[in-house]
Symmetry: C2
Subunit: 336 residues, 2 copies
């Protein structure tokens, strides 16, 4: 490894590899019995006062800054909220750091910030502070936003608790956000039609499912798409999965754009959807509850199996099996 | 305001103005009785389990990335630690988000990350997680790092508790970091000599002072330098200050570089020094303790006065008085 490549930031295998090479010799990886660096989970936890303080921080570099269904401000709020929400926490506070290019339009900045604040307000999240920096013209492409979200949980959901026999649920159609951004980056925005990024907080989804019973594992579907989310859960839980391809909810437009782009829709980010792993006895009820609450495309898509830890198998409607691996390479740079 | 200028990010009056215009209509500004957006303090607090969770998050864009005394990784660790430490908390955990330019050297990145981790390790801070993104070549200048630091405090120190009669202490020489960075940016690095950035954690300084007795106000000296730190304390505490110019510890090299650059050294960032406001009865003892522990330049530099809230007056050795105002304009872009 001599220089950093776009693949290192794409959220797939190369990202895992560089993060491990940079950070895994660091000695202090968690606070007491909390979840920290080793877990590579969506958020981290600090046990405190009989509860869990859950925290996540991400930087958002999405290009374009404005896109159908949102902008970088909305995405920066949603992305960090979701990493805290899938840990089972209720987000209560946020901080934001904005780094913007000299000469950027004040009105556009205001629109971006307002979109971010609108998400925080709807979720009843306090904005506690942050940072504001300007880089000279040409030294940064428009704007980068980092958000940190803090939540409180009575009990924690990890991405490593899937058990053989459990069912795999997705909360809605996958790949919408990734299809929109990739299409724009590839210069085929004319083909997007009415498709929008699905970026939205998933806090309600998790809380609805939690009411039915324990969630064994949860993960939001971001860089690397459904493929990455399922692989991480399977690997960390030391189980395999059989996923029924025809059960995966996909919008017609996402299928169409994926074909045009020559990309598997299952590696496209969603930013408003989650994978839930629950006891098979409760899976139907979780899906029903989600649909009743407006998540109409929530679906059981497969089953957790024993053996072959880390393998995710996709079964087509004709019965053919193929391995659904972690994505490799660039995928789409600056997807989130 | 049509477009964003470098002055908006310089940490002076224009930064205050734009942050207020963007964020001050937001409704949810704190968690319960904690310190949040309104306070514009160094860190924020969440009351929890009978204690205070203290959190701060900043983005670091310093140019050059490597400089005498440190690099962007060390600075990113130190900067966010210091914002938590001056609130009276012991930092316990951190998250880091790295956004790096495609083509950046892996070895340099490793050196930067190692410098950051070295600071965290010395301070016994757990690294819980973070983010790693790559932007295409030319879309970001080398590297931007955002760090979030979380600490726990039994009691909180603000920047608004200065009382008339209190003494003003600085923990060491001011302006070192700012002088080094500005000299390099101005192309006069040959003049820097042995001067180094003073970037270092201030946790010990605060804890040493705390042992002597209550600290009425504290602030680290970052963008806008000593001038900004004193003005913010005076303004928020609704008091004035008289500062004795000759008592301010300044390195010869900083004075020399400031003259060459035509900049007041009192607006240059320090990144390893703090202002402490303490009861006059205890001020001598605080300074003695600090010197005993190796902070040899710690000094009483002035006194808090009643009336004229927000005014900071500098008295020269000849008795002349001048107003030490908040800095205006660009100062040095990308100082931290």
């Amino acid at each position: 490894m001599n220089v950093i490549t776009l693949a290192h930031g794409a959220g797939g295998k190369e990202t895992e590899r560089i993060i491990k090479s940079l950070f895994l010799n660091y000695r202090i990886r968690k606070v007491n019995s909390g979840i920290g660096l080793d877990a590579f989970d969506d958020g981290s936890t600090i046990p405190f006062g009989g509860k869990h303080v859950v925290v996540s921080s991400d930087s958002y570099t999405v290009d374009p800054v404005f896109f159908p269904g949102g902008n970088i401000g909305k995405l920066a709020a949603v992305g960090s909220i979701n990493d805290v929400a899938v840990m089972g926490a209720i987000p209560i506070a946020a901080l934001d750091n904005i780094v913007v290019e000299e000469g950027f339009s004040y009105n556009q900045l205001r629109e971006i910030v307002n979109s971010m604040l609108e998400v925080f307000e709807k979720e009843n999240i306090a904005l506690l502070g942050g940072d504001f920096k300007v880089m000279p013209r040409g030294k940064i492409d428009k704007i980068v936003i980092s958000t940190t979200v803090i939540g409180i949980a009575d009990s924690i959901i990890t991405d490593s608790g899937a058990r053989p026999g459990d069912y795999v649920i997705v909360s809605g159609t996958v790949g919408d956000h990734g299809a929109v951004i990739t299409a724009i980056q590839s210069g085929i925005e004319a083909e997007i039609g009415d498709l929008k990024s699905d970026c939205a907080p998933v806090t309600r989804i998790i809380q609805i499912a939690k009411k039915i019973g324990e969630i064994h594992a949860a993960k939001d579907i971001t860089r690397g798409g459904l493929a990455m989310a399922l692989n991480e859960i399977a690997e960390k839980s030391r189980v395999s999965m059989i996923i029924e391809e025809e059960m995966i909810p996909l919008k017609e437009e996402v299928i169409g754009l994926s074909e045009l782009l020559g990309i598997d829709p299952l590696i496209l980010a969603s930013e408003g959807k989650v994978v839930l792993i629950v006891d098979r006895e409760r899976a139907e009820e979780v899906v029903k509850s989600l649909r009743r609450e407006g998540f109409n495309e929530a679906s059981i898509i497969g089953e957790v199996k024993e053996g072959k830890p880390g393998f995710v198998i996709l079964r087509s409607s004709f019965g053919g099996l193929r391995l659904l691996d972690k994505p490799i390479g660039e995928i789409t740079p600056r997807i989130c």
